[in-house]
Symmetry: C3
Subunit: 653 residues, 3 copies
Amino acid sequence: MNPTSTRWPAGVDGLCFGADYHPEHWPPDTWNEDVDLMRRAGVNLVTVGAGAWSHLEPAEGMYELDWLDDILDLLADNDIHVILTTPTATPPPWFGLRHPDAVADDQRQVHDGYSAYCVCAPAFRAACLRLTRELATRYRHHPALSLWQVHGHYLTVCRCDHVARAFQQWLRERHGDLDALNNVWNTAVNGQRYSDWAQVRPPRPEASNPAQLLDFHRFNSDEMLAHFTEQRTVLRQYTPHVPVTTTFRFGHDVPIDHWRWSREVDVVAVASHPDRADRGAEEQTAFVADLARSLAGGESWLLKEQATGSFQTSDGPRTLEPGRLEKHAMTQIARRSRGVMFEQWRSPRGGATAWRSAMLPHSGPNTRLFREVTRIGEMLPGLAELDEATVPAKVGIVWDEPSWWALSGPGVPSPHVDYLEGVRQAHRVLWRHNVLTDFTASEGDFSPYGLVVVPHLYLAAESAADNLAAWVEHGGTALITFASGTADGTGNIHPGGLTGVFGSLIGARGVEGYPLRPDETVELSNGAHGRVWSEHLHLDGADTVCGYRGGVLDRQPAVTVHEWGRGRVWYVSTLLDDESFTELLDTVGVLPADGDPEVEIIQRETDDDTYRIVINHGDKPTSIKATGTDLFTGQPAQGGYQVPPAGGPTSDE
Amino acid sequence: MNPTSTRWPAGVDGLCFGADYHPEHWPPDTWNEDVDLMRRAGVNLVTVGAGAWSHLEPAEGMYELDWLDDILDLLADNDIHVILTTPTATPPPWFGLRHPDAVADDQRQVHDGYSAYCVCAPAFRAACLRLTRELATRYRHHPALSLWQVHGHYLTVCRCDHVARAFQQWLRERHGDLDALNNVWNTAVNGQRYSDWAQVRPPRPEASNPAQLLDFHRFNSDEMLAHFTEQRTVLRQYTPHVPVTTTFRFGHDVPIDHWRWSREVDVVAVASHPDRADRGAEEQTAFVADLARSLAGGESWLLKEQATGSFQTSDGPRTLEPGRLEKHAMTQIARRSRGVMFEQWRSPRGGATAWRSAMLPHSGPNTRLFREVTRIGEMLPGLAELDEATVPAKVGIVWDEPSWWALSGPGVPSPHVDYLEGVRQAHRVLWRHNVLTDFTASEGDFSPYGLVVVPHLYLAAESAADNLAAWVEHGGTALITFASGTADGTGNIHPGGLTGVFGSLIGARGVEGYPLRPDETVELSNGAHGRVWSEHLHLDGADTVCGYRGGVLDRQPAVTVHEWGRGRVWYVSTLLDDESFTELLDTVGVLPADGDPEVEIIQRETDDDTYRIVINHGDKPTSIKATGTDLFTGQPAQGGYQVPPAGGPTSDE
Amino acid sequence: MNPTSTRWPAGVDGLCFGADYHPEHWPPDTWNEDVDLMRRAGVNLVTVGAGAWSHLEPAEGMYELDWLDDILDLLADNDIHVILTTPTATPPPWFGLRHPDAVADDQRQVHDGYSAYCVCAPAFRAACLRLTRELATRYRHHPALSLWQVHGHYLTVCRCDHVARAFQQWLRERHGDLDALNNVWNTAVNGQRYSDWAQVRPPRPEASNPAQLLDFHRFNSDEMLAHFTEQRTVLRQYTPHVPVTTTFRFGHDVPIDHWRWSREVDVVAVASHPDRADRGAEEQTAFVADLARSLAGGESWLLKEQATGSFQTSDGPRTLEPGRLEKHAMTQIARRSRGVMFEQWRSPRGGATAWRSAMLPHSGPNTRLFREVTRIGEMLPGLAELDEATVPAKVGIVWDEPSWWALSGPGVPSPHVDYLEGVRQAHRVLWRHNVLTDFTASEGDFSPYGLVVVPHLYLAAESAADNLAAWVEHGGTALITFASGTADGTGNIHPGGLTGVFGSLIGARGVEGYPLRPDETVELSNGAHGRVWSEHLHLDGADTVCGYRGGVLDRQPAVTVHEWGRGRVWYVSTLLDDESFTELLDTVGVLPADGDPEVEIIQRETDDDTYRIVINHGDKPTSIKATGTDLFTGQPAQGGYQVPPAGGPTSDE
């Protein structure tokens, strides 16, 4: 992240509140009603322009910006600021007809808008820069302009000749000559050895060479980032005072290395789309918030997009019950989001997103939903001073998207190892016990933490092992789970066994894996059960914490601990369930001695003050002791509060 | 339907009995045996020509019709009439090689016959008309010719440039200018706004714009209908006395709006292919028969194709047990089919349909199957007078294929709403209680009915609401299930809530949906359980019949009733199970007070007579009281009958 | 099989022991370590060259064979012999760029090596022959050269124009004129009748014409075989003394008729890849070994490739537990494999096969795995004299790959009939009772056997029925299961019923099938249960062994027996479970009266000696009585042995 000196979003005081706003979906006579209702809801910031390329440039080089002038003026007149988006994620239908080579190869001949481009196509890159320049020159001095969003949503991977050429160039820069590429990719293994750069092609999705796929993912991440920074350069040229961002999404199929990207955006802005219907949605919300703050280096970030009502789960759509939206908003503010933004202001009457949630639903403002949204708008001003307070986490969890890509690909010890679930479990168990966590890169600065959890860090360079070892030596505690350290950054397996580059630190070498069936468990000597994986360890300094019981690994170590300098390293060679993982963390000594699992408390700090945000996830009121001042009322605490449960049945009020 | 003055099929007295006959599958020396066995079985009508294009025109413009002359003469000599088919559904291999652009885009380079054409390709349309003219001129005076079938089976959707041009033309006619199209399709929503007609393309199957997909479905239905009417014009020119039809199939992937099509065929002919192995097969048979009669405006129709033995279910093939074929035949005759026709006369010795059922199986005439078929042939003459008697249904169920398409597509409140199952459930519960039903269009004439059921009528114009309201006002009772009235005919959502255009009539507004998981239930205050969907209603005149119990909608209304003029409107906001739906219909007052669920009784009426057809679905004989005459024996009833169960174990007799 | 006069592999004494060796995966400085460890493990034969085309010919016509000279010299110096592979299964990336038409149609533009060729493309065939000649001329006199392997692994089916032309040519030769083709393929059935050879195309995988698909499978098998024999011709020209083989794999998607192929290879070499984790893996290993020996005409064959540790199951990867590898090796040696070879010598550090098992794992030689491999290497010399002893099986099971293809395709009585499982069941039940089996072709010589099992032999010519009948007449016992004899070799259904061409021999005609759902069972009168299929039989000489109980076939025969000459024929019209099938075999009289199901005993014979190999599959030691000499120790038996269980938990020793 490269924060500009100005506070962002330019011109907005306090916390941000709003949504994506699409005036182009509606006739102009609804705009005044929109703005009136926005004011009633407390909106002070909206995102404009996303998806509007075909409205702004209806034919090549023919710009129609008058409607945008009008709406920006109207918003400015009403003290509503704007995140202006370069809508390059949605080329108009004319674009693909005019430049068929610039459409992603699986979307040719379609012209239905979203993502119909190849990010490597010169014609696409040029068209994006022209449009960006047009917007920048026109609105550089507009009072509503508060933040630039570039592109919106990267969602497409192409394998055309443009991509092939760009990939070859990227590989030359990364690996040097073709011999090096042949070596790193182990092209000998499948008779794939290249004798000319022209032979190197983007791998098919089902390709079997892990190193080739890993490089293609990294290349795609970098190429999309280059597309972003090109536009950023233009925008900074015209509006050096306005920060530039794009919206991060975690868990999508397009590979983005967010640690790399976070260095290039002025603001870490994220979309938060939980896919669980139950309380897991709250945990996922906290996960995204903790990750966003970590990517922002601990500083403020922006919750840029979330659902108000209907959201998608693997079982289909669900609707957030009353009160849960407020919990989500508070979860994000507590984790240092500088505001709460929703996916759209108003549900359109048709199109793909007609049933996506909005601040203003089809059924209008006289609804439970709009009332709840408005209530959050009323709460935010009282919370503005929180923005200065840090979030002092004492545990770090290593987050490494390339390891995720690698473990989701071919050529791995077991396809059942679920990287994301491994990371989620660590976060989930700590969240349930009110332990605040940061995420950290595998070679990050671990000094703020007492414990670093390293889940399934499949790709680890020797330098990553050195970084971790140095920190443990000075007193840190590391907890490493299986399939960590096995391969280097290119996906090549370290010699010596499964524990690879972490073997010395763990004090044990994983000599042979015994993968389990998806429905299979293995018993441990403490009565716990492992899933997914088990492993034959040769101990080399570590002590056994508990062993396997029965089966082929009977009496062999399953969980170990190793003293290393002033610290220690725990290793878990199978996948524990949440309860057993909790017990292990308790043994490690990181969980608080008491606490109500239904009541979440987040502590924030400035040099002068301490803040506590309390969220009652239960269904009964709870009392907490407190001194100080209530931020909402400004009244002294009188020794404590009753905290009502968040949510309950729908009523007509 | 446009019935000609002549009774159809021309020349056939009484009820029709036969099958598709493929003399071209066998050497001519088997033809005499075929015709002898047909006479033994009582066959008086066969369908000839389907699939035979490559035999009739082995190279472009080279016709070989002698074999067809021979077989038609042989059939005529044996008093067997013919449905002559224009076999345009199966272009010969030469066609695709000669006209590669006229093959559907997913079938190019294949040349394996079935459906290898694009219905919009000029070369295909021209080839069809040439062949049709050839058949019409040659057989216009042939004594066997009794009915024309055009094309057979529409089964292919293409997205090539021919289709794009035709689609653009169809859209121009429907919507006028491009602004109107952009508006109706909400192209603003995904940045898809068109600035030129050439940009408008057929949507991919996975496209996300609901209005675009809906228009493409309607376009395909119309385009296939245009293909049909083109051939019909040629046939009428040469044989004005011979009616023209094609075979309707319900539930296939190709979109056909059967209400529209039924206005263009002279005879409603249908294929009936149940996919359940249990008694559900009998209900599905009745469903198709009721729908066919409704499409025929209550008049006679033709069961054109069904299995004799082996049929397909989702669990693989099954064989009809002894007696069930007779039940199916009687189900159709009772619902005013003018005959019973099977999918093929004789199973071929190879090819895709080798194991499809036939009147004459591989194992020959000395089989249970052939004996059972022959028995039906013997029964039909006694039932001929039934053909004049109407089927007086007192309940109408709204059937609307565009709502089905829309609810099966993207951009809907929940993908778990199953339109077909909603309609089937209403039919099924009424069928099980011996309540005869018609199907009706959403803006049909409801005056014959006391109750109209409106299941999941997602697409409803204001005029549909007006039509329903006017009928209720005069005393009708409507029962509307959720997801009805939500959108207009183009798929755009009516403002105000989920109940949309039916809100006033229902007396309640659905302000927010709470979709359920596929395996989830919600409890109601009467102990019933709802599935798939639940909904927060704002009552506005309606009374609560029963409410939700527990969960987010605790104590909110689930089923409501609203007095409207002299009638009333029931609304069900969740999916009931069959038992609860039965109880609701009982409350509504439509179910008969008594009756044996194992015994189906269909009543038919002429001005002078009343007929009762009784089908015993149980496994024991049952007695019924009756006066009048037995149609089979011609004997007076003597106060009643023993009705034997239909079916039992196979025996060698 | 066409054995050369020389014993194979040339130069190897005793039994073979080794693996695929890929020196090109590693820098030359590891080669000495490899060879040292090979000697320690007892390796005397390795396969070299597979996958190495891009290393041997890095650009068209530019050969780089120096590295291969070096490694072959090194191996020869260490008394390790070589199976030299023509690596034509893995064209280099340059090949597809240079000859785009010679790449299989689903792999164009990819260039990632494996199988990227069309076997019918002239450019591919020419390139293969040039490379083969290059290797043959260079190494014709090399002392390490012991056996040629052609191509490795046939894995690709293409449908391009080259294939179309070759297919048309093959069809002309098989069927003569186009009328004959139209007749055999029943093209009339789907309007597919051809009027020109150019219209005949390779069928799509989802094509519906069974005869067309069957011919395409046969064509592919023949075309790949032609590719093999072309190379064999070149190799024999230069090295008439060195036998030529390729590796057979059973159960893959590429159609290979192994009876036909086995006549063309000098050595039957097979890959054995069980996909079950439990003891089924041992049964599958025996299955492959029995099939390999049968294909070798009862003579010695070579287990060319199997896993040492990790292997794939339908539930993901598994690791062989300690001791199981030894069981697999003994299973193969006992069934007359002339050695034990593994899939690779050393796991590579990257690439698709990085986690495939090897003799030398990533974790190095100080591992349970390498010790176990070495132990097998130590056992083999003592077993060398077994190679001369025959395996006298008394039961034959008919194995017919075209019937498998047909029953896996369209146009069959039920898609749930699983040919492979039908054959496997017969083998499995006999294996569990220590009855040694051969496999035999449907028109093979049955004279060595007392019982021939004919499972689901869907395709059977009249000559097959005659062959079976003649043998039964002379006293043989046949056991035929349903779906046998139904169609002729082209897939056309024999007239008269399901039992088709076997009807007279069975003494019953299957007049109608009642296919069952996958989860459905039908009860038999002896309390057993049938699955998948049931059938209405008209008896014509046979007696009922047991009947159906309940359902549509109540009291009808299910299992029959028919006296025929001096023999008898059993027929089973439903799928029995293993237990019921065992009871039936017991009734038939083929199972031994006693025996421990945990202890497998294989008896081998020479003119002078009898050998017994005993494998203890249980988890406790067992005692057996024995006289004679222990092959490992050379000591007399002293009346018997304690046989320890094979396998147990992992330990660090």
